[in-house]
Subunit: 406 residues, 2 copies
């Protein structure tokens, strides 16, 4: 007879939240519903022809290295191209201050392991990227939530909290932010607030995690500098990824930070997976070198802008009164607020039955709010499916409102 | 002025040991010495032509999926081919009991996170694979070391320890073993001991981690079954990898285990890196399908057998009296025991200066012994370099012995 294996689980497994997104994705895959749930790029935009040729080339020409083990920090030549690539965004970081990670998710996990102790206070946006919360939770921090508006994080409210905490002898260890085309809301932090945030980091002695997967997908002309580009003292830990601008299947992300931070994250990574797949690094490097990334970004941006517009129009047409939503200036998501009588988690199964999926918003809020919110992805579905899906969702919401008697 | 970033480190960073191997590898890369240090496959044996064609093909034909995000457990079709691949080794596990990992190292890390609590007792071989120890250490277990001889782990001694612990109300939570062509010693556990180990697992209620990267590289005809093949109740967690039989640069490993164990490891993996690179999974899958793995294994085995023989002969010729070493029946390593006056860690810098590197053996022992041992890799260097390197190393040892006055 099989033993009860659950008794072998470590106590910390109670900290492991199943990602709502990944659970939903599995259901969707099985049922074939219209999905606004994931954060998947449009696969029609993958540069398949170019990557097919590049993959073949790097194995043929550099196979002895590209198929072999490599150093934990990342292939040296690749870190040089990343350094160059970041310089085109105004961020100047030498290759030695870069750590290549197995997707950006690993960077979040490394930060949790190497920099967060139980009880450390981390400030995050309300709402914020839920997979970051799940990664950080493994180190049992305390979260404080800072509201956002259409100019990003309310840095003035952060300052109040810092002052109040300070008066109680407490301090914030790090602020996690997705300042540009935020996930899940699509808003971008104004330049004034960015400066203010950096000043507060000095004054109150905390680190800033700048998570930047979406800054290449800005649909409106917005003046801003990356936090890392204005980082005089090395307090900003910058994260980015090729998942959105090239192909998530490669699992290539990176961290740019002060050398002491890179060193400790590198040491943690040794135990995790030795190093990021060498072949993926060579493919991404060659894609930068050949200008594939540069050529495709404008195409992706235009496509996603069009899809955003289609979804905004569809929401206007089909969602009932009492609903509101963000008008994202970039990224892949619209975040919707429904009437407060609705619990979007409760409504999800009905929506899936009706043929459409979304991510209930509550998991993006560290303060227990957001039960009436949802994240809607517009990068993956086709324009037709966006219209059809929003129409269905509008009907589901109306029925839900009716059943609640409101 | 830059702040002191070290004050932001989490307390657990003190648990992070820098892998001696990876530090040495970096020095070697810079200095160009003959390296017996890594565990690198011979890059001349990578099926470059085939993999170049396969990589191009899977992106061309399956690019929409192969370049996209995929499920945490691993690409379903790939888990089916892994299930088939394992059946050729006598291990019958359905695809749903398989989790694809980012190299075998990640499997060790997942086990540490999901199954090990501080103070849990883990029994390991003396010596054992040091990167497993480093991964497990992050969860602060207590290790007990079980000696090996040329028939593998002394399971009789394990039984004594289990009895003794049991009499004090304590128990072993898991036994970690590399039963076949062990790292670092190259020995293989006899069939009798394997059966005995499984009986003890039932009697004393523990899990067995069977780490199996090398069983395709057995140079002598040895009769044995994999522990997982004899596992009636699901107590064996089987780990393997494509790093040695195809290409480490893909970072493809996997775990085969009871469904409850797979479920909890999968949940932990979500936070780590979402999923293993999809492209690597498609490449490995196609390499199995086309018979590339099957065709290359015998070529690799013959090459490594020849290199092992060259190293054994060179040791006989050049190492001074008072040294002994294992006669590996498989794998990639010979483990040498020098006279006890020698500290191989202390001697390493002299060896590197003289032009040859190895891994000091102490890190493979959990009981503080092994200061006079070293691990020698024979898969990576050419036959000429093996002879030259052992010759140099013999000279360094003689000088060291002279300086110690013995």
């Amino acid at each position: 007879m099989n033993p009860d294996f659950k008794k072998f689980y470590a106590h910390r497994t109670r900290l492991m939240r199943v990602s709502e997104i990944r659970t939903i994705l599995r259901v969707i895959e099985e049922k074939g519903v219209i999905s606004f749930a994931g954060g998947l790029p449009d696969p029609n935009l993958f540069p398949k022809k170019e990557l097919s040729e590049i993959a073949s080339y790097v194995i043929r020409e550099y196979g002895n290295a590209a198929l072999q083990y490599s150093v934990t920090r990342g292939v040296t030549l690749f870190r040089k191209s990343l350094s160059y690539f970041m310089s085109t965004k105004g961020i100047n970081v030498p290759p030695d201050n870069i750590l290549v990670t197995t997707g950006s998710q690993q960077a979040l996990d490394l930060i949790a392991r190497a920099l967060i102790d139980p009880g450390d206070i981390i400030a995050v946006e309300l709402p914020t990227y839920l997979a970051a919360l799940n990664a950080f939770r493994m180190s049992e921090p305390e979260f404080i939530g800072i509201p956002i508006d259409d100019k990003g994080m309310r840095v003035d409210i952060l300052e109040e909290k810092l002052r109040e905490l300070s008066s109680r002898g407490k301090k914030v260890k790090m602020v996690y932010t997705v300042p540009t085309a935020q996930n899940p809301s699509g808003v971008t932090m104004s330049q004034d607030r960015r400066k203010h945030l950096l000043e507060l980091a000095e004054q109150y002695d905390f680190l800033i995690i700048e998570d930047d997967p979406y800054s290449h997908f800005l649909f409106e002309p917005i003046e801003f500098k990356h936090l890392k580009a204005m980082d005089g003292t090395g307090r900003v830990i910058y994260l980015s990824t090729f998942s959105k601008i090239l192909a998530p299947g490669l699992r290539i992300g990176w961290v740019a930070a002060h050398e002491d931070i890179i060193a400790i994250l590198e040491r943690a990574k040794q135990n995790l997976d030795l190093h990021t797949p060498t072949l993926s690094q060579y493919i991404a490097m060659e894609a930068i070198k050949r200008g594939v990334v540069e050529r495709y970004i404008p195409i992706m941006r235009e496509t996603y802008k069009r899809k955003r517009n289609v979804m905004l129009d569809a929401l206007e047409d089909h969602f009932p009164p009492g609903c509101r939503w963000t008008k994202p200036v970039g990224g892949m998501f619209i975040f919707a607020y429904l009437p407060e009588s609705i619990d979007t988690k409760e409504m999800l199964l009905k929506a899936i039955d009706a043929g459409v999926a979304y991510v209930p918003g509550r998991a993006f809020f560290v303060d227990g709010s957001g039960w009436n919110t949802m994240r809607l992805n517009f990068s993956f579905p086709s324009e037709d499916k966006i219209i059809e899906g929003v129409k269905i969702l509008g009907r589901v919401i109306r029925e839900e409102l009716k059943s609640k008697g409101s």
